[in-house]
């Protein structure tokens, strides 16, 4: 199975090799979607894949290491009323989560493909895209 997690670190936890440990100790595949660090700690958005049991154990490990863990269902939300279906977002979305339906010419947002990178946020002229993490 696959799940997306938001991790919050205090400065101490920022020094731990946690993504390495998730892979080495729990056999999880880790895809880092976003990572940022500043003077008060860090934040990371990852997608982990593996067996359900391993994911659970991995999450327990993170919690023990003092990392805040929050699963996310959606990272970016579209305001359907604001979207004009122009399509300016489709060529900048790196994962093709935003695409144009060739028949209806509406912009389709496939949330499962979205990695919450946020490049669409400031590219959207009617400001229909909002990042939630």
């Amino acid at each position: 199975m696959k799940t997306k997690l938001v991790l919050n670190f205090n400065p101490e936890a920022s020094n731990l090799p946690i993504t390495h440990n998730l892979t080495a100790k729990y056999g999880l595949l880790v895809n880092i979607l976003r990572a940022e660090i500043d003077e008060v700690g860090g934040k990371m958005v990852i997608e982990v894949s593996g067996k359900a049991e391993s994911i659970k154990n991995g999450i327990d490990y993170l919690k023990e290491a003092g990392v805040g863990v929050r699963p996310i269902k959606e990272g970016v939300r579209r305001d359907d009323d604001a979207c004009t279906h122009c399509g300016v977002c489709i060529s900048i979305c790196p994962t093709k989560a935003l695409s144009l339906d060739r028949e209806t010419r509406k912009v389709i947002f496939t949330e499962e493909k979205c990695v919450a990178c946020g490049v669409c946020i400031d590219a959207c002229p009617p400001r229909a895209m909002e990042i939630l993490i």
Binding site: T84, C86, G87, S91, I92, A123, P125, P126, R127
Partner: protein, 401 residues
């Protein structure tokens, strides 16, 4: 004065007046541009010219050269507004007492360039209250020095959308060869030819279906922002001399129209405040124009498809007036989602909503068919001999030569 050719009937065709009367009686055959092209594919030009009376076109996109004028009525005591702001966005008040013009790209005094006149225009259309502040010098006839109040489309005396350049006939496409992301009025252009953007509804676009302005002219009634409006003049930067296909379709930005309509009739579905990051505000606007099929030439013009319309992709990395052309492409290629630039497959993005353009063509068709929307013959044709002069720095003598 140059003699203008009236847009009247041709020997083998139908007259504008006949078509308009038939439409008002509910007897006209009206098709959207999408339906008409399909009809021509199946039945040919001759049959289409004979059987179809009106084709409805549409476009929805960022139209920067837009704005609205307002007359607020008089306060008591009266004021001759010298400076005015609508929700903090400066409006031009140099037209006597209580008339102001709010430009779509006007920005607030803060430097974030996120909120502008276009957003205030959308707020008005949505029925929201907008804060009006104005200051004045105070005169014996207009003693009030300042006013701070709220207005909305319910209270305001007159509110009129008046745009000097809309509905461009064809438009340039954009890409970026530099190493950094560019933020432009053509959207976010990714480095190293990361994407290309374009902005026209192509085969649905009004002036691309009437390339020589035979039916769209001054006085044409149009769909404007969800209400009715009129073409009031040639648009600014009107430029007829660009290269054209044998059918007259321009290969570069050419004609445009200046339009006007009652803001109180409009809807936020077709009037949207837009923000282009680090460029500023602009107005997303929907326009639809009915085109009477006067004869076979008009049928041929309206049969144009995205394969027949081309434009150039310019390199926005060059900060000059004459940007280099990276590729010549058709709207069919642009619409496929990818184009070839210098051997690279570059993903494309439209800035113009085909979804909304189609909706406008549908709505206009329905309202013509019901007899609600009356198709009008222009009182004067748009010019066919305009060039686009540049702005160069020169001294007073040179400027008079």
């Amino acid at each position: 004065m140059k003699k203008r050719i009236p847009p009247g009937p041709t020997s083998s065709g139908k007259s504008f007046a006949d078509i308009s009367t038939r439409a008002q009686n509910g007897d006209a055959v009206v098709m959207t541009a999408m339906e008409f092209k399909e009809f021509v594919r199946t039945n040919g030009i001759k049959k289409a010219a004979k059987e179809v009376d009106i084709v409805t076109t549409g476009t929805f996109g960022a139209m920067c050269s837009s704005g609205a004028y307002f007359n607020f009525g008089h306060s008591d005591p009266p004021i001759k507004m010298q400076r005015a702001w609508l929700d903090g966005i400066p409006a031009y008040a140099g037209m006597a007492a209580v008339d102001v013009y709010l430009g779509a790209t006007e920005l607030d005094d803060s430097n974030n360039m996120m909120h502008g006149g276009a957003h205030v225009i959308e707020d008005f259309v949505r029925g929201r209250a907008v804060r009006l502040k104005a200051t004045a010098h105070a005169t014996d006839c207009y003693p009030l020095k300042e006013i701070d109040t709220y207005v909305s489309l319910k209270t305001i005396n007159q509110a009129v959308l008046m745009n000097v350049r809309n509905c461009y006939q064809n438009y340039a496409a954009a890409s970026n060869t530099s190493g950094r992301t560019l933020y432009t009025y053509m959207g976010k252009l990714l480095p190293e030819l990361g994407n290309a953007t374009y902005c026209s509804s192509g085969e649905l676009s009004p002036l691309l279906n009437d390339p020589l302005y035979r039916t769209i002219g001054i006085g044409s009634r149009i769909f404007l922002g969800g209400g009715e409006g009129f073409v009031i003049w040639e648009g600014t930067q009107f430029n007829t001399g660009v290269e054209r296909t044998p059918n007259g379709v321009p290969k570069r930005p050419a004609g445009s129209i200046a339009v006007l309509g009652d803001l109180k009739q409009m809807t936020s579905e077709f009037v949207k405040g837009l923000t282009f990051t680090r460029y500023g505000a602009t107005l997303g606007l929907g326009i639809g124009v009915p085109i009477p099929i006067l004869d076979e030439d008009m049928a041929k013009a309206c049969a144009v498809t995205d394969k027949d319309i081309s434009t150039a992709i310019f390199d926005y990395a060059q900060q000059t007036r004459a940007r280099p052309v990276l590729a010549e492409v058709t709207y069919a290629q642009l619409g496929s989602g990818e184009v070839d630039i210098k051997g690279r497959r570059v993903p494309t993005s439209p800035l113009s909503s085909i979804y909304k353009a189609r909706r406008i063509a549908e709505l206009l068709k329905k309202s013509i068919a019901k007899g609600d929307f009356v198709v009008t013959e222009p009182v004067q044709r748009l010019p066919l001999d305009r060039s686009f002069k540049p702005l160069d720095t020169m001294n007073d003598k040179e400027a008079m030569e």
